[in-house]
Symmetry: C2
Subunit: 142 residues, 2 copies
């Protein structure tokens, strides 16, 4: 189910130069299981059902893992952050302007377009990740 085993996650944390703590692994294991970008709120709520973990700890781990390049942070104009594992593949999603519905679209690459844009850039020489959001009303809200 999870896209990475616990051992793989541990090695990713070590490779990032971060300490392997129970809480940090909990966060990573959670993100390795979900299929959609998850909010901090959801993460905290769910993790607290099984473990005693403070929200400050969750925030700090999300930040350290994100800085280390292991997570991607997404914002859909919801006023709060969403996180997902950094997979190496770009992140593309359809976002409803009315409800919180998000649909992840996979299998379509825009790397060529990204390269073209980078070539046009004056301020950037290379980039690491990219994301794309397509906004509209979902079938339910339409």
């Amino acid at each position: 189910m999870a896209i990475y085993s616990k051992d793989e996650l541990i090695n990713m944390v070590k490779g990032a130069g971060l300490r392997v703590t129970d809480h940090r692994l909990l966060v990573l294991e959670y993100l390795a299981k979900v299929k959609q970008p998850v909010t901090v709120y959801e993460l905290v709520e769910d993790l607290r059902k099984k473990e005693n973990i403070d929200q400050a700890t969750v925030y700090r781990n999300l930040s350290s893992l994100h800085e280390a390049g292991l997570l991607r942070r997404l914002d859909f104009n919801h006023g709060h952050a969403h996180y997902e594992l950094e997979t190496g593949h770009a992140s593309h999603q359809l976002v409803c302007n009315n409800c919180e519905t998000i649909e992840k679209i996979e299998g379509i690459s825009i790397d060529d377009t990204v390269k073209k844009m980078l070539k046009k850039s004056k301020k950037f020489k290379h980039t690491t990740t990219h994301s794309m959001e397509i906004y509209g009303l979902c079938k339910t809200c339409a």
Copy 2:
């Protein structure tokens, strides 16, 4: 300099079914002048230099204009919103992971890709806008 004249902006406001007020026009005229997505903070600071306008009013106008489809709201994982005029053309930008630098890239369309993605979607039948952010370190921060 501005991409719309005052009269055009007035007509856009009327067409949106909103009242034409001095404050609402100030916000729109400001956005018609700048070349980059602007933060609420910048907007409030700059407008206050010339006019007495409350930040609640700015927020409310940004919301109403955005809901009316006249503005686009962008978030670059900065923890605050950025706004720009909705031009009909998509919005693509390079975003520095370290500083607040943003570079707008124009002239490259990804409409075909958007169509492909929409075709793959199960939850959306059609969409209205899309945006794309390419993240990395700018030359200065690299």
